[in-house]
């Protein structure tokens, strides 16, 4: 029987207070790490656990920590990626609003491991409640001696600062986040150098997602072998899945890595809305290629989804039923990427603008012969030709929609209308996004 740990406190009254967190064993992992382990031993534990980053890329966390050089003469920084801009994703907001001390303890243990005395939590500015809860929790932790000078009587000094974002999806990309933290426009940097070597203020920097950091105290308390015993060998541990869209029970679910997508959607989230059938599911936020209904046996872990032509991403699972036009969904997704492109790379900036125009035309029933071939060509021109993965995510998503639902695109062009529109179409010129 799987026992949730990451969401243990989220439905508890006053789960955001330090007293509640302590009553459930909170901050014992920090005390244990400081008392029993050297920083290198903490890194080794995390490596053995095979914790992979929960922000989207799935890079092994312990390995990332191990890249941080020692004795550079510069401070080492820890940055928490709490920007959470991937549509379909809301897991980090729930942790920060309802159990912020779990994140603070994860930050403290992680900072101890990599030798950082300062952490910045980059949190999206829209998350006002989460920001307030986290500020309050930092003050509580400070008062209790979990933060500040000589944490719990050790030689470890640690401070956490909140840095509010201001509405730019690209800040979720780690080097763009560093640019933003340095007070610049959030545009990605060329790698190498990687942030572990030259990150914030050109100092060694580790950037981890909220959920990744929240896993760390549990690994310390329960052991790497406990963590590794959950789910598949190459993608172990508990996982937060965000369920939204046309599904009976949307919400945040904690289950093992590797659960079949169909079981997640149909058993846990209640399946399709009354009278409807599931048509497709986006498994990992809108960057993740869509999976048609017949592919729902795929397991929800990094490798299984990659093998199926999609990705786990942020595990933002969006359910789409048979009442929905896939051209409309694809158009909205590309409109998002077009709006959020930082403008640094021409293929992304110009290519997505072009793609949006073609898709809007097709959805409006004004598509022409050759449009789909043009979209194929544009995807090819964008994919792999940009500094960061934003353009790739857009191109992969559109390719998947074209591959699995090409008949819908063709129907729009041939019938010169959207087959899913029951009412007379509104004036589309008055309804442009972005």
């Amino acid at each position: 029987m799987f026992e949730p740990v990451l969401l243990k406190n989220v439905d508890v009254a006053d789960g955001h207070l330090v007293s509640t967190y302590e009553a459930g064993g909170g901050y014992q992992a920090l005390a244990k790490a400081l008392r029993e382990y050297t920083p290198d031993e903490v890194i080794d534990l995390v490596k053995r656990s095979n914790l992979r980053g929960r922000g989207g890329a799935g890079f092994p966390t312990g390995m990332k920590w191990g890249f941080v050089p020692k004795r550079t003469g510069k401070p080492t920084y820890l940055c928490c990626n709490a920007d959470e801009g991937e549509p379909g994703t809301f897991k980090d907001r729930i942790i920060m609003e309802r159990d912020p001390h779990q994140l603070i303890e994860g930050l403290a243990v992680s900072a101890y491991a990599i030798g950082a005395e300062t952490a910045y939590v980059y949190i999206r500015g829209e998350y006002v409640t989460a920001i307030r809860r986290l500020q309050q929790a930092i003050a509580e932790a400070q008062a209790k001696g979990y933060l500040g000078k000589r944490v719990l009587g050790s030689d470890f000094n640690f401070a956490i600062h909140i840095h509010c974002g201001a509405g730019a999806y690209i800040c979720g990309e780690e080097t763009a986040m560093l640019e933003s933290l340095e007070g610049k426009r959030a545009q990605p940097r060329l790698k190498p150098p990687f942030p572990a070597v030259a990150g914030l203020y050109a100092s060694p920097t580790v950037i981890n997602n909220v959920e990744t950091l929240a896993c760390v105290p549990h690994i310390i308390m329960r052991g790497w072998d406990w963590f590794r015993g959950i789910g598949p060998e190459k993608s172990p541990g508990p996982k937060l899945y965000c369920l939204s869209g046309q599904v009976r029970k949307p919400g945040l679910y904690e289950l093992p890595m590797g659960i079949p997508l169909r079981e997640l959607v149909e058993n846990h989230a209640g399946g399709a809305l009354p009278g409807r059938k599931i048509k497709a599911v986006i498994p990992g936020g809108v960057s993740a290629p869509v999976i048609p209904e017949h592919g729902l046996e795929v397991r929800m872990d990094f490798d299984s989804l990659a093998a199926a032509g999609s990705m786990l991403g942020s595990a933002g699972v969006i359910v789409i039923d048979d009442s929905t036009c896939m051209v409309k969904v694809a158009t909205r997704i590309i409109e998002f990427f077009h709006h959020e492109s930082c403008g640094k790379c021409t293929p992304c900036r110009e290519g997505l603008n072009w793609v949006v125009k073609v898709l809007r035309r097709i959805e409006a029933g004004e598509g022409a012969a050759g449009d789909l071939e043009q979209l194929d060509m544009l995807c090819k021109g964008i994919f792999g030709n940009t500094f960061c993965a934003l353009g790739d995510g857009a191109a992969m998503g559109l390719r998947a929609a074209l591959a699995h639902f090409r008949t819908e695109f063709v129907a729009h062009i041939e019938e010169r209308s959207c087959p899913f529109t029951e009412e007379p179409r509104r004036d589309k010129t008055a309804r442009k996004y972005g």
Partner: protein, 169 residues
């Protein structure tokens, strides 16, 4: 605390003053409602940074407004999860009842209507942010009730802030 004191306190969190531009802009916007040129220049002067650096950020990030917005900024999410749950119909309704298009402000200055990218509350779709608050599981009835509530709040605020009148005035 004055705006300058708040900005200086925020700047102390960073080894480089340039990092404090975003926090400073958020403070300034809270103070002034939006960020006109003179405010951007004041922020630059307080931090002792290049003015162009401040302009660059104020025009890049969507939460910064260089133009005035209404007393209530209605920010309806219309990204995929909200769209699948009916945000398009809600936008039509808002445009109809407010008599404005997306991006506009009502003539009385009460409401500005915008659509925004994902608010990160997809489990509660459709969602709209008004000020600091998220309003979830929206439908036409809830939108109407919300607008009524905001109008009442505005009415109370205008009474509260009305200039005092002397007897017989």
């Amino acid at each position: 605390m004055t705006m300058r004191e708040k900005i200086e306190e925020a700047a102390a969190r960073y080894p480089d003053q340039r990092s404090a531009i975003m926090p400073a802009l958020l403070i300034a916007q809270e103070e002034h409602g939006h960020l006109p040129g003179p405010v951007l220049e004041e922020v630059a002067d307080i931090l002792g940074v290049e003015r162009i650096w401040v302009y660059e950020l104020a025009t890049f990030y969507t939460l910064f407004h260089t133009e005035p917005v209404g007393m209530f900024h209605l920010q309806l999410c219309d990204n995929v999860s909200c769209m699948l749950c009916g945000s398009e119909e809600l936008l039509n309704h808002l445009e109809t009842v407010l008599g404005i298009r997306k991006g506009d402000t009502t003539p009385d200055g009460l409401f500005t209507l915008s659509t925004v990218e994902c608010l990160g509350a997809c489990e509660m779709a459709p969602v709209m942010q008004v000020g600091d608050d998220y309003h979830a599981h929206l439908d036409v009835a809830r939108i109407n009730a919300l607008l009524d509530s905001l109008r009442a709040t505005a009415g109370a605020a205008s009474v509260e802030h009305a200039p005092a009148r002397l007897p017989g005035e």
